[in-house]
Symmetry: D3
Subunit: 239 residues, 6 copies
C-alpha cells in the first residue's frame, strides 16, 4: 500500500553515526532511510545578551538544507539574503524541543548551538534533525563534563521526533517524500521516552481530521519514538 512497501506502523531504517566530523564537540550524521542530516553541536562559553548574568545557559539550533539535497535545486538562503519562513519555523521547533530535555541551570552560563544541515532529503528532515541533534547534544555535554566545564548532567532523559500522517485514508508512521507530498494530514510529534508530548504540530492538507484519526496517529507516533530512543541508547552505549 505504501510506496515503499512498509507496513503502516513501520519506521524506515534509523541510523546514527557519531563523530562524523572532527571539529564539533558533538557530530552526528542521522539517517531515516534516505534522509540524511548532519547535526553538529558547538559549546560556547557565552550566552545570548538577554541571558547575561542570570546563571543559566541556553540551547538553540539552526537548520538548513544544502541546495541540492532536494529533487530540484533550491536557491541558497545566504544568496537570497534571508531565511525563509519554513527554515525559521523548523529551527525554532528544534531549539524548543532540545531545551525541553535540558536543565538550563545545570548547564551554567554557556550556550550549545546545534547546526542541522540536510545533506539529502527524503521526507521527515525536521524529525530526523531533532532525533540526531539529541545525540549530538549528548556527546557535546559529555565532552564538556569530561573537561570539567559542567558538573551535574543537565540532560533529563531521551527525546525524539517522528512524523505521522494519513496516507490514502490510513494512518501511517514516518512518512517519506513520496507519501509526504500526497498525505492528507501531516503531524510532527516530539516526545520524551516516557510518552509525554513535547511538541505536536499537525496540519490537515486535505479534509479536516477527526479525533479518532488523531488518536491513531498519536499511537503510531509513540511507537516510532520508542524505537528511535532505543536506537539512540544503543549508539550512545558504544562509549
Amino acid at each position: 500500500m505504501r510506496p515503499s512497501g512498509r507496513a503502516a506502523d513501520a519506521m524506515r531504517a534509523v541510523r546514527f553515526t557519531r563523530h562524523f566530523t572532527r571539529h564539533a564537540e558533538g557530530s552526528v550524521l542521522v539517517e531515516f532511510g534516505d534522509t540524511r542530516v548532519l547535526c553538529n553541536a558547538t559549546v560556547e562559553s557565552r550566552v545570548p545578551p538577554w541571558l547575561k548574568n542570570k546563571g543559566r545557559g541556553w540551547v538553540t539550533a539552526e537548520y538548513s538544507m544544502l541546495p541540492r539535497s532536494t529533487h530540484e535545486r533550491m536557491v541558497r538562503e545566504a544568496a537570497r539574503g534571508k531565511l525563509g519562513g519554513r527554515t525559521m519555523e523548523i529551527q525554532r521547533l528544534i531549539g524548543r524541543s532540545l531545551r525541553a530535555a535540558v536543565d538550563l541551570e545545570a548547564l551554567g552560563e554557556r550556550q550549545i548551538i546545534v547546526d542541522c544541515d540536510v545533506i539529502q532529503a527524503d521526507g521527515g528532515t525536521r524529525t530526523a534533525a531533532i532525533s540526531g541533534a539529541y545525540v549530538a547534544l549528548r556527546d557535546a555535554i559529555r565532552k564538556a563534563r569530561e573537561q570539567g566545564l559542567i558538573r551535574k548532567d543537565p540532560l533529563h532523559g531521551h527525546l525524539a521526533a517522528v512524523s505521522v500522517g494519513i496516507f490514502n485514508g490510513t494512518p501511517v508512521l514516518d512518512l517519506d517524500y513520496d507519501e509526504d507530498s500526497q498525505a492528507e494530514t501531516d503531524l510532527n510529534l516530539v516526545m520524551n521516552e516516557a510518552g509525554g508530548v513535547i511538541e505536536i504540530q499537525g496540519t490537515a492538507e486535505g479534509h479536516a481530521f477527526r479525533r479518532d484519526e488523531l488518536d491513531q496517529m498519536l499511537d503510531l507516533g509513540e511507537k516510532g519514538i520508542r524505537e528511535i530512543c532505543d536506537a539512540q541508547r544503543a549508539v550512545l552505549a558504544e562509549g
Copy 2:
C-alpha cells in the same frame, strides 16, 4: 483561580465589527476580550507567479503587531529590515487555515490577501486573527460575487481558532496574556464548525503533557470554537 475570574471553560467576550475601514473589500475588527486585531481582506486580480495559468486562485495572510500593541514597545520589523520567525510562523498558519476553508478552483485566478494587524494584544492574537480573518474573507467574497467576479461560493463552511492550555495544573480555554505567560502548555487549535481539526500546534513549556491532558484540551477547544462560529454567524447574518 484564573486571574480574570473566568471559569476554566469560559471564552472572553468575542466581538466582530464589520466594515471597520472603508477601502478594503472585507474589513473586520475582531476582539477577544482586550485583544484587538484589524483584519482587512483584499481581492486582487492576479495570483503568485507559480500559480499562473493554472485556473486556480490563492488565499494568503500577513500578520503584524503595532509596535505598542504590547506592554513593552517592540521594534518595528520594517525598521529591522526583516520579518521575525514568530511573525512568519503566524502568517503561514493563518494562510494555511484560511485555504482549508476555500475551494481555490471556484475562486478563479485571483488572490485574496488578509492583513491581520494587531492593534492591542492581550494573548491569543493569532487565534483571534484567524477567527476575524474568516469573517473578512467572507465579506470580500460576498463583494466579489456581487460584482460578478466569482460565480460559485468558494467557501466550505465556518472555521475558527482558539488557544487552550494548562494553567496551574488545570486545562483552560482561551488564555489571556497573564495566563499565557505562565502556562505550562499552550495549544492552538483551528477547527471547522463540524469539529474537524485543521491545525493543531502545541508546545509543552514546562513538563511534557500526557494524552489525557491533550484530550481535555481538545474538548475545551471544540467548545470554544463552536461559540466563535456562532458569533461569526450572528454578525454575518446582519447582511
Copy 3:
C-alpha cells in the same frame, strides 16, 4: 467647487480620541475627516547612543501605513525589507516637529517615541499624524510627571500641522485625497499656536507658484492650525 463641497478655508471634522489603546503611555486616534491615524507615545528610560550622558532627552517618531489603509493595497515595508523614501521623510518631519515643542533638557535622559500608524488614509496623513502625536506626547508626559519621572513640564505650547494647496487655481485648506491627487501645489505647514512657522514644505506639482499664492496659502494654514490647536485644547481639558 471642492469635491467635498467644503468652502476654500474649511477644515474637515477634526477629532481626537484619547486612551485609544491601553498599553501606551499616550494613545490617541486622530481623525481629519476620513483620515484616521493611531498615535501611540512610548516613554523609554534610555536615549540613543550618541546622546548618552549628555543630560538631555530625545523625541522621535515612526510612521507607517497599514497595507490596506489606501485604495489599492500597498506592499508592507517589513516584507520589502526596507523603509521607503516617503516613509523616512515623513517620520523625520514628525520627529523634528515634535522636538520643536519640547525642552529636551527638562525631559532628562529619556526618549519618547511616537508611533503613527495610518488606519485609513484620505489625504493629509502626515499633518493629522503631527497634530495627533502632539496630544499623545502630552498625555505621555503627563503620565511621566505623575510618576515623578519628570519634574518640570518640558512642553513649550501647542503645535499642529495642516496641508494647504492650490486646487483648480484656488488656494484651499486641508486637502483630502481627491483634491490632493489633482492639486497644482501641495504645502505642508507645521506651526505653533502663536503662528510661528516650525516647518514649511511645499512642492509645485504643476506650475511654479508665485509669492502672492504662497501668502494666501500661509493665511489659510494659520487659520487651520488655530482651529486644530483649539480642538487639542478642548480634548486635553477633559482630564
Copy 4:
C-alpha cells in the same frame, strides 16, 4: 559678522565645469565655494516599469556623499546596505525639482538619471547639486537632440536652488558649513528664472520663524537664484 566675511546677501563663488568626465552624456562639476559636486547625466532608452507604453519619459536623480567629503569620515551607504533617510530625501528633492523643468512628453519614452556625487562638502550640497544637475541635464538633452533622439526641446527654462537661513538673528544667503551648523532656521529654495517657487523646505532649528522673516529669506533666495541662473547661462553659452 558671517564667519566667511561675506555680506548677508552675498553668494559664494559659483562655478560650473562642463565635460568633467568623458562617459556621461552630461558631466558637470559644480562648485559653491568649497562645496564640490559632480553631476553626471545619463540618457537611457527605457523608462521605469510603471511608465511603460505611456509615451512619456522620466527624469530622476541619485545623491551620495563620498565617505571623506566631510570633516569626519562617514560610513558608506553601500557598506551599511541601505540608503539613509537624508539621502533619500535629497535625491527625491533633486528629482522632483528637475522634472519641474522638463516636458516629459517631449522627452519621449526615455529616462534621464542625474547622479550627484559630493566630492567635497562645505554646506549647501543639495542646492549646489540641483543647480549643477540642471546644467548636466541640459548638456545631456543637447546631445540627445544632436543624435536625433529628441526632436522638440523638453526644457522649460532655467532652474536653480539656494539655501537661506537666519544666522545670529540675521537672514543670510547661501549658508556654508560653519553657518549651517549654527543657523536658527534653514530654508532650501528651488525656483525658476521667473521667480516662481518650485520647492520650499524650511525648518526652524531654534525658535519658530515669523512671516516677516520668511519674506526676507525669500527675497534673498530670489536674488541668489537669479545669480546662479546667470552663471548657468554663461557657461552654457560656451557651446
Copy 5:
C-alpha cells in the same frame, strides 16, 4: 619539517567519492586529507537573463562552509543576511576555472551550477572544491549526454587546483591548515592537464617573494596538479 611529516613535494591523500548524494546530476565528495568538500552539479534548462537567446550555456559555482566545518564555529551567512567577501571571491574563482574547461556553445542554452559545500576544513578548501567540482561537472555532463540533451562533449580536458606556499623558508605543496596559518606565502594554482595556467593567485603574507621562489612554487604546483588529474581519471574510469 612539515607538521604532517610530509615531504615538501608530497600531496595529501586525494580521494573522490562519486554519487555521494542521489538527487544531483553529479555528486562528488572530494577529500584532500582531512579537508572534505561535497560538490553537487545541477543541470538547469535555463541560462542567466543576460545570456538568453545567445545559443550558449553557462557554468557557475557556489561555495559555502558548514558553520562547524572549522575549529571555531562560524556564523552562517544566511543568518547574517549576506555573503562574505572571501566566499564571493572563492565562488567566482571556482566558476571562472570551470568555464575554462567547457565549450559553452556545445553546452547549448543550459546552465550547470556546482554547489561546493565544505563539510570539514583543514586547509585548501578552494583547491579541493575546484578539483572535485570538475569530476561532478563531468558526471553531470555525462548524464545530460545520455539523456540526449547535449550532443557534443563540451569538456576540453582535465583541470585541477592545488595550493603551494613557502613554509619555514621552504616551498611546499598542498598546505594543510597548520601550514596555511603560518605560511609566508600562499599561492593557489589552477592548471589544465597540459600544464597551462588557468588561474594564479598569490599573496605574500610575510616578506615579498622573489621570482626564483615563484618558479619553485610553480614547479611544485605542476607536479601536484598532474597527480590530482591522474586521480580524477582513475575514478572516472570506473564508469
Copy 6:
C-alpha cells in the same frame, strides 16, 4: 598594434595630484591615462573590535565606482543594498597590499582607511587605486607624525601595482579598457620597489597561458612598477 599606439612595454601617463580634497588626512587623485581614481586616507583613533588592546594598528581600504565612471551607467551598490563580488575582491586586494608596506605595530592602536573612488574608468582601476592609495597613505602618515600621533615611520618602502596581459598574442603592459576587454590573459601585479612580489592575480580568459608567457608578463610588470614608484617618489618629494 595596440589600439592606443603604445609600445608593448609602455605605460600610460601616470600622474598623482596630492591634496585633491581638503578634509582627508591624505587625498590623492591618481591618473593612469584616462583612468582617474580619488584616494582619500582617513586616520582614526580606533581599531576594529578584534584588534582591541593588542598594541597594533590596521590599514584597510574601500573601493567604489561612481555610477557613470563607465561607458554604461552601473547601478549604485548602495541602491542595490549590497556590495558586489568584484568590489569586495578589489577592496580586499587593496587592503592586503597596503598592509604589506606598513609596520602595524609602529602604527599604534589606530586605523587608516583608504577610500578609493573611481571617477572615470578606462581599465586598470584597481592597480591605479593601489598606486595612488600608497601616496595618500604616505601623506596621512606624514600628518599623523607631524601631530605626534606616530613616532616611528611605519612605512617599509614603496609599493605599486600594474596590470599586464596578452593582447593579440603579445604580452603588453598596463592594459587600457579597449585592450582589457579583448585580452586573452589579464594579470595584476603588486610589487615593492625591490621587485619582490606582494600579490599576483592572473586569469586566462582565452587559452591557458604557458610558463614562458608568465615570465614575459612578470618582466613587463617589474618595469612598469619601477616607473610608477619613480613617479610616486617625484610627487612626494614636492613636500
